[in-house]
């Protein structure tokens, strides 16, 4: 690469020239290295900015509302004026957990059974078709799921089943669709974990006379446990943070009573509340503006804790094969 400069150099100054070329090269190498480091640092800066932007408004929110009232209050009515306004986040958290719970009841068994089928039972040809389809489904925008719940599931399935008192926005529809939404993600990641278990383990189990069922559930599943846990936790945290399905089909969470109603009533969630309140209009410094950041910070902390737990679990149950 440096041959042209070397041959062009006069014979006497050759050594010095080589040295000079080398140092110019190492300077540019250093510059490139620094630029790459700067790119990598952007992700850290992003986290810092997220925390700072959330904390700043959250702290001034807690200047107006006591932390105890926020964490233990059972009434969420930030929209009301004056004394009527109540900032107990519990109903919002309960709504989120309720919908996430319904979602996981749907997504975990269906996702894991699909993953076991694809990894352990399905013929190669089936897997080659289903796997990319799963990946495409995992990328379908969430608003499509919300739209389906709003325009089909509630009016055409839930109302005929449970009667007209089913609210247009209801937790059941939102939960079912969030479940369907995270199903491909869980199935796809769990399948990756199951297929990465070495073949020799299965052969060993078969050699000992184990059936395919025993092999799948007692040998492959435990060996892939860390990946399967990661899949479920990732699905859960996606469900908790899911916004559009709940905003369209579950309720916006702007006014919540102290009791969380039946699944056929609307409730809303933390994420849906943020999106329904922060439509770009809330004035900086207003209590409505601060509220969305306080709820956002709560949501951020819940997802962070979940992710850290997942990292711990994954490293505890990780089995290393050659």
């Amino acid at each position: 690469m440096t041959s042209s400069s070397q041959t062009a150099a006069p014979a006497g100054g050759r050594g010095a020239d080589l040295l000079r070329v080398r140092s110019a090269r190492s300077v540019s190498e250093l510059v490139i290295r620094a630029a790459l480091f700067a790119a990598a640092a952007i992700s850290v800066v992003t986290t810092v900015l997220i925390v700072v932007s959330l904390l700043k408004e959250t702290l001034s929110f807690f200047g107006d509302v006591s932390l105890v009232d926020y964490l233990t209050g059972g009434k969420w009515t930030p929209q009301l004026a004056g004394d009527q306004a109540s900032f107990g986040v519990l109903p919002l958290v309960a709504g989120t957990m309720y919908i996430t719970g319904i979602a996981m009841i749907v997504a975990v068994p269906l996702g894991l059974l699909s993953a076991i089928y694809l990894a352990e039972y399905a013929p190669v040809r089936v897997r080659r078709v289903v796997k990319p389809v799963l990946e495409i489904l995992a990328g379908v925008p969430t608003i499509v799921f919300g739209f389906f719940a709003l325009t089909f599931l509630t009016p055409d399935i839930l109302r005929p089943l449970f009667g007209p008192e089913v609210s247009q926005s209801n937790q059941l529809a939102a939960g079912l669709l969030v479940g369907l939404l995270v199903l491909p993600t869980i199935a796809s990641i769990a399948e990756d974990a199951l297929t990465s278990v070495p073949e020799s383990l299965r052969e060993g189990a078969f050699g000992l006379g184990a059936s395919r069922l025993t092999t799948s559930l007692r040998v492959v599943m435990p060996a892939a446990l860390s990946g399967v846990i990661a899949a479920v936790v990732l699905g859960t945290s996606r469900a908790i943070g899911e916004t559009l399905v709940i905003l369209l089909a579950g309720g916006s969470g702007q006014l919540l009573p102290s009791t969380v109603g039946s699944p056929t009533e609307d409730s809303g969630s933390m994420a849906a509340f943020i999106a329904s309140t922060a439509t770009g209009d809330a004035a900086t410094g207003s209590i409505a503006y601060e509220t969305i950041f306080a709820v956002g910070f709560t949501l951020f902390v819940i997802c962070l804790v979940l992710n850290l737990v997942s990292i711990r679990l994954v490293s505890r149950y990780r089995q290393v094969y050659e």
Binding site: A39, T46, L54, I143, V144, G280
Partner: protein, 304 residues
């Protein structure tokens, strides 16, 4: 009674006998198979119903007018999604300009330069993992507080939207690009370095071309995630049904998911139908991008 030879033969016979399947075992096996097929059927039918519903509902409203007319809040017959379609395409291009250099740069740094014994390099890695699990609506809050208002104060512009979406999908690009770079065998690097190339020359001329297919796939997947995102754009305040096209990066904008959201909140069934049709437009765009990704993966994948 029997000679040792007979006993040995008998023993051999016993060990080669295949044990009879326990009928209870077979029953369990059958019911598990039933469970699996039922799960697959429920998942498959629901997801198929989801696709069928918007396709059958929206197909009737598909026309060129949908793509070439501006949205209307009063007359569904003449309402289109022109501003949203342009907005989405501009957003995608701007996001690409941001995430391609930053995402690939980060991946190269982490794979080729970073010393994992240094705490800040480990911090970067854990941090990217955490960022990937932050809900998208929280990125919207970041965009609102820092980019639309606050220090950057860009307003509700195309640029603000693209930066917000770029930060959101950056972890996806980094994670996929790292895998692609890691797949390039170290013998390639050793060979290049042995021939006198510098580290950067090795990366630029050997590692990047060798991992291009994987990196391109990651970028396309990240961009297709970006254009399907609704929540962060709602939070930063994207315009609802504007009747103008963005005329630069500092212009207000809207995007297809926002338009779908606006249509689907209407009570008029004709607007609901428009929402279905707009979903078809968005899904066609996403499928096209996915097909390009699959093509790139198959066409340029390196076998080492």
């Amino acid at each position: 009674m029997s000679t040792p030879a007979q006993m040995a033969a008998k023993a051999a016979q016993q060990t080669t006998v295949i044990p009879r399947r326990d009928p209870a075992d077979a029953r369990k096996e059958r019911s598990f198979a039933f469970l699996m097929y039922a799960a697959l059927a429920v998942a498959g039918i629901s997801l198929a119903a989801l696709v069928f519903q918007f396709v059958s509902d929206g197909a009737g409203a598909l026309s060129w007018n949908l793509l070439t007319n501006f949205p209307s809040k009063v007359s569904p017959e003449t309402s289109g999604v022109k501003s949203a379609l342009y907005g989405t395409i501009y957003l995608m291009l701007l996001t690409a300009v941001f995430v391609i250099p930053v995402g690939i740069g980060t991946a190269i740094y982490l794979e080729e330069y970073a010393d994992r014994r240094r705490w800040f390099n480990r911090l970067i890695e854990v941090n990217i993992q955490n960022l990937a699990s932050v809900p998208s609506v929280v990125y919207g809050l970041l965009g609102l507080a820092f980019i639309v208002r606050g220090p950057f104060s860009l307003g509700r512009t195309l640029l603000a939207g693209a930066i917000t979406l770029g930060l959101l999908v950056l972890p996806v690009v980094i994670i996929v690009a790292r895998e692609a770079i890691r797949a390039v065998p170290s013998s390639i690097r050793d060979g290049s370095l042995a021939l006198g190339a510098t580290k950067w020359q090795t990366i630029w001329k050997q590692v990047l071309p060798g991992s291009m297919a994987g990196i391109a796939t990651g970028v396309i997947l990240a961009l297709s995630r970006a254009i399907g995102e609704t929540a962060p754009l709602i939070v930063i305040g994207a315009a609802v049904s504007p009747r103008f096209l963005p005329d630069g990066i500092n212009s207000e904008f809207t995007a297809l998911p926002i338009q779908i959201f606006a249509f689907s909140k209407d009570n008029d069934p004709q607007f609901i139908q428009l929402a279905s049709a707009t979903i078809i437009v968005l899904m066609v765009l996403l499928l096209a991008m996915n097909s390009v990704a699959i093509y790139l993966r198959n066409r340029f994948e390196q076998k080492w």
